[in-house]
Symmetry: C2
Subunit: 179 residues, 2 copies
């Protein structure tokens, strides 16, 4: 059965700095119509970086959407025309000062497919010594390096509380257990 | 250091069926201001259900935001005033016909904390025999039951392609490996 929802009409409700919002009237498989609210996002990257001391490089930052600080793996949105691995290297260095020696793609996932097209590309970076972070002027992050066990505890405490970082912590646990 | 971003002014750009969109002017820690685009979402649940035959209950559905079909674990947004475990039981039964015998909370995660407050509550359900699904009138889903290995292959093929489902697949793999 073909479940495709064809766009009958659409309207751009909002054009922003990070997101655009469209509302579309779609035709359903049963011949009826429905309204879909769609957030358009340029896509993002996230980076798992483990130090020689076996700590995960995290950034603590205030998330206005949540009105609280959380610990996340370094991440950022893709600039127009930028390849994901380039974004990954750039964001890691800007936010943490670590320059990646090598980057390996781990996974890509849509974060909220019910209403948003944001695709996050997850990389693992080989890193050497950290340099000096240089974040964007409207971005305030604090680097924290924690062990995998501390990360798992931070998940329990809702200090790590976002899908990409929780996926990354699980990924590292799986890999260590399989060794 | 206090990274809190205080709201100076805000405007509701869009009030929708699923999401609302706010644009806020915020005060930054350095005294400057910036604009934050914020998508408000009521929150959602997702359910891991494994059959007696050791297959994961998945639903195939067309996602307009992605313009394609993907395989996901059963999920849905919370209705006003609804407790997450109630949503979990309701969505599982509506989408798949399986009535949960018991529900266990596994995790909660923000899907896109950079711009959206959607929090997904992930449950694991004990299930018995399936009944008959009864989805919403604008929702078309097809139930598919696949093994963990098939799910991991579906991840490789980008047929499973969203964070909550990929997190769930990793969760099941971790648990099986730890047995």
């Amino acid at each position: 059965m073909d479940f495709t929802e064809k766009t009958i009409s659409g309207e751009r409700i909002y054009s922003g700095k990070v997101i655009n919002v469209d509302v579309e009237e779609v035709g359903l498989p049963n011949g009826k119509t429905s309204k879909r609210e769609l957030v358009r996002h340029p896509g993002a990257v996230a980076v798992i970086a483990v130090t020689k001391e076996n700590n995960i490089v995290m950034v603590r930052q205030y998330r206005k959407a949540l009105e609280k600080e959380i610990l996340e793996i370094p991440a950022g949105k893709m600039e127009a025309g930028e390849e994901p691995h380039v974004t990954a290297g750039r964001e890691l260095e800007e936010e943490t000062g670590y320059k990646p020696l090598a980057l390996k793609k781990i996974a890509s996932f849509y974060t909220a497919p019910g209403f948003c097209d944001e695709l996050v590309h997850l990389y693992e970076a080989d890193i050497d010594k950290p340099g000096r972070p240089f974040t964007d002027e409207d971005e305030f992050v604090q680097v924290e390096e924690i062990s995998l066990q501390e990360a798992e505890e931070a998940v329990q405490q809702n200090l790590i509380h976002d899908a990409k970082t929780m996926y990354a912590v699980q990924y590292l646990r799986l890999r260590i257990n399989e060794q």
